[in-house]
């Protein structure tokens, strides 16, 4: 249907196609909302059985026994938390360092290449990280890193036991490699919006470069950086494949980081398709629901903090 200027003059433009198109687009918008509703509905309905059987005890019991239909999610919650926190400890200093280097020190020519390469890390599928971790990272940890940690930091109790390679430490390291791009690209975004005169003012007071970065840049961007870190945490909490491949998959709570563990996401990956029995399946869905709720809260918090710094400009869709 070709619209002609003449038709406007005659006042005969039909409004029906416009109305149909407008409502079709609104329907698409509504579909996004209903997707979330659908996810919540599926998770809540299918976890009812387990919720009624175990209640709150589900989250504090550490007994996971499909044969006797006893399910407690504590070892998985513990594994998810510890592996994610460990990955933050490793990733945050590195990611912030890279962001500071790119925005404050890097020659302009190198800047584009560096940000592109760090973002390339985000494009690698998680199963390939896992593959690399099994055959390269884990042997390295077993042969060099773990013996070193055991002799120097063994007294803390965090680095004891046989160095299998596979275990909580390996999961933390591979997660760190995977979340560095998110944290550093958000941090970079936040550092770029710190006004130039802040830097100049601090330098004019006779500050060294380090003091300028610490006082003039990092302090100003604090909320945004924390937001980026929390976005990284959200990613680490839900990361499945790479972790499943190296964490050892044993539902135990051990103090040593050398020991194998299990996470909420990896128990789903390993057991969901083989779960026999309704209670078993329902317990797994309940773990999924808990994971979903935690990541939603974490992500919403992160978005708000990033928004508060970039002043309403939408954060880029990388999470």
């Amino acid at each position: 249907m070709e619209a002609k200027p003449a038709s406007l003059l005659q006042g005969k433009v039909s409004e029906l196609p416009d109305a149909i198109f407008g409502w079709a687009m609104r329907l698409c918008g509504l579909a996004v909302v209903s997707l979330l509703a659908l996810i919540v509905w599926e998770l809540v309905v299918r976890s009812q059985l387990s919720w009624h059987a175990f209640g709150w005890k589900f989250f504090v019991q550490s007994d996971w026994n499909p044969v006797e239909e006893q399910f407690g999610a504590l070892p998985f919650i513990y594994g998810t938390l510890v592996s994610s926190l460990l990955s933050l400890v490793i990733a945050v200093p590195l990611a912030v360092g890279v962001a500071v280097f790119i925005t404050e020190m890097c020659p302009a020519g190198l800047r584009g290449i560096l940000s592109f390469t760090t973002e390339l890390l985000a494009a690698i599928p998680s199963v390939i990280y896992g593959l690399w971790a099994i055959f390269v990272l884990v042997p390295l940890l077993r042969a060099y890193v773990q013996p070193f940690l055991a002799t120097t930091l063994g007294w803390t109790g965090l680095f004891t036991g046989p160095p299998y390679g596979i275990g909580m430490l390996a999961a933390g390291v591979i997660l760190a490699i995977m979340i560095i791009p998110i944290i550093s690209s958000i941090t970079r975004e936040v550092l770029t919006v710190v006004p130039q005169h802040q830097r100049e003012a601090v330098l004019a007071l006779g500050a060294t470069r380090w003091e300028m970065i610490r006082v003039g840049v990092l302090r100003n961007a604090r909320a945004g950086i924390v937001g980026g870190v929390i976005l990284g945490l959200g990613r680490a909490l839900g990361e499945t494949m790479a972790v499943t491949m190296v964490i050892g998959n044993r539902p135990e709570i051990a103090k040593s980081l050398f020991a194998p563990g299990y996470t909420m996401a990896s128990v789903l990956a390993n057991e969901f398709s083989e779960a026999s029995g309704d209670t078993y399946l329902s317990a797994l869905v309940e773990i999924g629901l808990a994971l979903f709720l935690v990541t939603i809260v974490v992500n919403a918090m992160a978005r708000l903090m990033v928004w508060s710094v970039t002043r309403g400009q939408p954060a880029r869709n990388i999470a």
């Binding site: 619209a3 200027p5 406007l8 149909i20 198109f21 407008g22 687009m25 609104r26 698409c28 918008g29 579909a31 996004v32 659908l38 996810i39 599926e42 998770l43 299918r46 590195l94 360092g97 890279v98 280097f101 020190m105 560096l114 760090t118 890390l121 494009a123 690698i124 599928p125 998680s126 199963v127 390939i128 990280y129 593959l131 690399w132 055959f135 550093s184 060294t208 470069r209 380090w210 976005l231 959200g234 909490l237 839900g238 990361e239 499945t240 494949m241 996401a265 789903l268 990956a269 969901f272 398709s273 999924g288 994971l291 979903f292 939603i296 992500n299 939408p314 954060a315 869709n317 999470a319």
Partner: protein, 272 residues
């Protein structure tokens, strides 16, 4: 002190780039040595027999991604159009926030949802279920990038079209969307690349298959699933094939993305 700061920052860059370099070097070194004609044309051999390949998984991945794109792309672009052209209001803000939230939902959770929605109703694992899971993941990303791209189109262009008496739907499709085509397609490819390597949501939807399967309602092999099951197996031959599969997966993603971008820049798809 200045030099120390610079030194430390440089060190972090090196530490971050090292694993990236190592991953790509290993991928090419191990993968290229294991790819051969049989790998690309044959189905997996039983344990212990040498040879065999991942042809069915390559085709399966393409089928699942095709189903996902068929459902996810129009819905995502539609939601993006809604957000930029109709959604400058309260409900639009809600849709925007929910898109961002959906972006952060762990992919394995999406897998559970697709399992409940499709697998339980159909009664068996299927390519369709895998496609639904990936489509759910594509929609929010496409919606948000489409919105951002459409907002970049100057308001004056829309007004010029209205001034000529062109109705709003026609303006949106032929002027606004068309002007933003290359940006929108970049967003689509971003979403595509993101789901193309996904494994977790396929574990209990597409499930995997050792044989050829041409039906969309049957368990279907996917490259990422095959890489996973071969990587955690105890056989050297399978490890070798897992590396080859990983290289093929990366090459497929990169070539799909660049093919579309070249088509866009050459104008073949400019009318899309």
């Amino acid at each position: 002190m200045d030099h120390v700061t610079t030194g430390v920052a440089l060190l972090t860059v090196v530490l971050v780039l090292l694993p990236l370099g190592a991953i790509f070097a290993y991928l090419i070194y191990k993968g290229a040595g294991s790819i051969n004609w049989a790998f690309l044309t044959q189905t997996p051999k039983p344990v212990g027999e040498p040879g065999g390949g991942m042809a069915n998984a390559i085709v399966g991945s393409v089928v699942i991604l095709g189903i996902a794109s068929f459902m996810g792309v129009p819905l995502g672009i539609g939601a993006g159009i809604y957000l930029s052209e109709y959604g400058r209001n309260r409900f639009g803000d809600i849709v925007r926030f929910i898109s961002d939230v959906l972006n952060g939902v762990p992919s394995i959770v999406i897998g559970i949802v697709a399992y409940g929605l499709v697998v339980l109703r159909q009664g068996h694992f299927s390519a369709l279920a895998g496609g639904v899971a990936l489509a759910i993941m594509m929609v929010p990303t496409i919606a948000r990038t489409t919105e951002q791209m459409l907002l970049l189109v100057p308001q004056a262009m829309r007004e010029a079209a209205y001034g000529l008496g062109i109705p709003q739907w026609r303006t949106t499709l032929s002027i606004t969307l068309r002007t933003a085509t290359s940006g929108v397609i970049t967003g689509v490819m971003l979403a595509f690349a993101r789901v193309a390597g996904e494994t977790a949501p396929l574990l209990f939807t597409a499930f995997g298959n050792q044989f050829w399967n041409w039906k969309s309602d049957q368990p279907t092999a996917a490259l990422s699933l095959q890489i996973f099951s071969y990587a955690i197996s105890p056989f050297d031959e399978w490890h070798r094939q897992a590396w080859a599969g990983a290289l093929v997966l990366i090459v497929l993603i990169v070539s799909a993305v660049s093919a579309v971008r070249i088509a866009v820049s050459r104008g073949t798809l400019a009318g899309a």
